[in-house]
Amino acid sequence: MNAEKGTAAPLRMTYREACRQAIREALAGDPKTFIMGEDVGLYGGCYAVTKGLLEEFGPMRVRDTPLAESAFVGAGIGAALAGMRPIVEIMTCNFSLLALDQILNNAATISHMSGGQFAVPLVIRMATGAGRQLAAQHSHSLEGWYAHIPGLKVLAPATVEDARYMLKAALNDPNPVLIFEHIVLYNAEGELDPSVTAVDISTAKVRRPGRAVTILAYGNSLPKALQAADELARDGIDAEVIDLRVLRPLDNATIFQSVTKTRRCVIVDEGWKSGSISAEIAARLSEDLFFELDAPIRRICSREAPIPYAAHLEAAALPQMPHIVDAARRLVRPA
């Protein structure tokens, strides 16, 4: 690989490959790290992220589990309590609901409930999101829900760089960290700057600076927000796009700084609007930044329905680039 040879050329790879390299590096770097989940071994991962790792690291480090989300997530929590640094893969966040009890009642509570005697340095990776016509039981975005829970950290890598390096930071964190990988992003390609070998898991990042309006997005909404900003630029509107990256704890500082500058904000969230992470951000802005705003906060979210199979209905249910453009334009140039 270029980076290892020390050349400075940027590396192009898919988000999937970045996830895979991150896991590989973690397994190679720490004997206490192992990965377990359904079909991570023999099958190579339901989204082919763990392909080849079983051959390289063997069945003790790359463990196929039975279909038993509650048991293997709980076992990951137990192993973390007792000194390991496990990575648990849940095929999709839709199935994580079978393990929700373990995640909320055990992973998120034990360090606090034990008065700080125990930590749960566990990473749970799961796929999230819609866009591949997989219908309601495979298409939901539940990261906003998990961001409701104190005791967890919730990450949403949207770039190849974050897919590559967030895992390392998550494994170094003494707390349970959930990483949501958007299914549509797996095939997305991007460049890795060889001089970057780590990222933080505490801040939001400005992906496109601008002055007229702030667009907050994460996951697969980020590319849509960036396209929207390009579209707005053609119309003379200079939008700032912020990648939230970390949904819990939210990086108020970066968000507030941007909105203080632009005085307008559109939030894009693939979760349902009611009770969403976008609702939380809007509430914070209205609590703390009310007098800095020149316009109401706008939210572009999924429609309040289970995500349907039919292509046209699925597309209509999700936030789309034109909705973002339209909302931002109306904020900047009210009719």
Binding site: Y43, G44, L67, A71, H138
Partner: protein, 328 residues
């Protein structure tokens, strides 16, 4: 309904026809998937036809069916209209779920078909509840719950088996043990590989059945249904079977050998039954050809129905998120 199989000419041909309908339907689905008319996940039933068809022989209209994402065979054998299934996979509003569910989520109220469920194990608690209601509301009705052996790993499997037995509910649990849960072989996932023994541990009568033999499956299902209908509580069948195709359309099948697949294909229930019927003078060449052309015509009509269908209006996206009333 009799608890014995009467294998006369008509019935033998009926079993063959039902299995052939499924086999040819699945072949058409592959074609339509490659033509991108069908999208999303598509799980095919080739090889497992004897299970759905055998079990359905023991059911009548009052009974209920709970299925999985691998639901084509169950729906067809239950009598759900083929056109409505193709339309569903096209995403058309004429589909059995208005195009909202796709291949994994066939529903048909009239047939008491309570859905293809894409959460492994998710159907078992539902079946328990349907049976609970039936015990009050529809004396003698049986709820058949299909699931793969992968579901036996889930807590919901164990919780449901226990409840059904504890409350003596009329559920027929049908485990389609095709030896792999996606890429995980049975022996890598289960400490006890005889799934029916798990049911026996909950004191539910349980049998292991040759799932490649529709007559064996039918006989077992009739025994089971008779026992359930006479008020003895649930019954459990583990049907040993094999899926001939990949788990879904995205599967390189790295976890099993071609030789193993070929070995199982030698036990293909379709040629087996067909040969048996011919040898016993219960099926003539001409009858077979007629059967095949009738099935092909049904498939052609089903595809035409889907092609002619409409897209649901986008304004209706949020329709039925909440209902105005519960249908009677």
């Amino acid at each position: 309904m009799s608890d014995k199989v009467h294998l006369d000419r008509d019935h033998g041909q009926h079993l063959l026809r039902e299995m052939l309908r499924i086999r040819r339907f699945e072949a058409k689905c592959v074609e339509l998937y490659q033509a991108q008319k069908i999208r999303g996940f598509l799980h095919l039933y080739d090889g497992e036809e004897a299970v759905a068809v055998g079990v359905m022989q023991a059911l009548d209209a009052r009974d209920a069916v709970v299925s999985t994402y691998r639901d084509h065979g169950h729906a067809l054998a239950r009598g759900v209209d083929m056109g409505s299934l193709v339309a569903e996979m096209y995403g058309k509003v004429e589909g059995c779920s208005r195009g909202r569910g796709g291949s994994m989520h066939f529903f048909d109220r009239a047939k008491r078909f309570y859905g293809g469920n894409a959460i492994v194990g998710g159907g078992l608690p539902l079946a328990v509840g349907i049976a609970l209601a039936d015990k009050e509301l529809r004396a003698g009705a049986v709820t058949v719950c299909f699931f793969g052996e992968g579901a036996a790993g889930e807590g919901e499997f164990h919780e449901s088996l226990n409840l059904a037995e504890l409350w003596k509910l009329p559920v027929l649990f049908v485990c389609e043990n095709n030896l792999y849960a996606m890429g995980v072989p049975l022996e890598e996932a289960e400490a006890e590989t005889d799934i029916y023994r798990k049911a026996a541990a909950y004191r539910t009568p349980a049998e292991k059945v040759d799932g490649m033999d529709p007559i064996a499956v039918e006989a077992a299902a009739r025994r089971a249904a008779a026992s359930i209908r006479s008020g003895n509580g649930p019954y459990f069948l583990e049907c040993r079977t094999y899926r001939f195709r990949a788990h879904s359309m995205f599967d390189a099948q790295l976890y099993r050998t071609k030789e193993e697949v070929e070995l199982w294909k030698k036990r293909d229930p379709l040629p087996r039954l067909q040969t048996w019927l011919v040898e016993n003078n219960m099926l003539s060449e001409e009858e077979l050809r007629r059967m095949e052309s009738e099935i092909d015509a049904e498939i052609v009509a089903a595809v035409a129905f889907a092609e002619a269908g409409q897209w649901e209006a986008i304004e209706d996206l949020e329709r039925f998120v909440l209902m105005d009333e519960a249908p009677e």
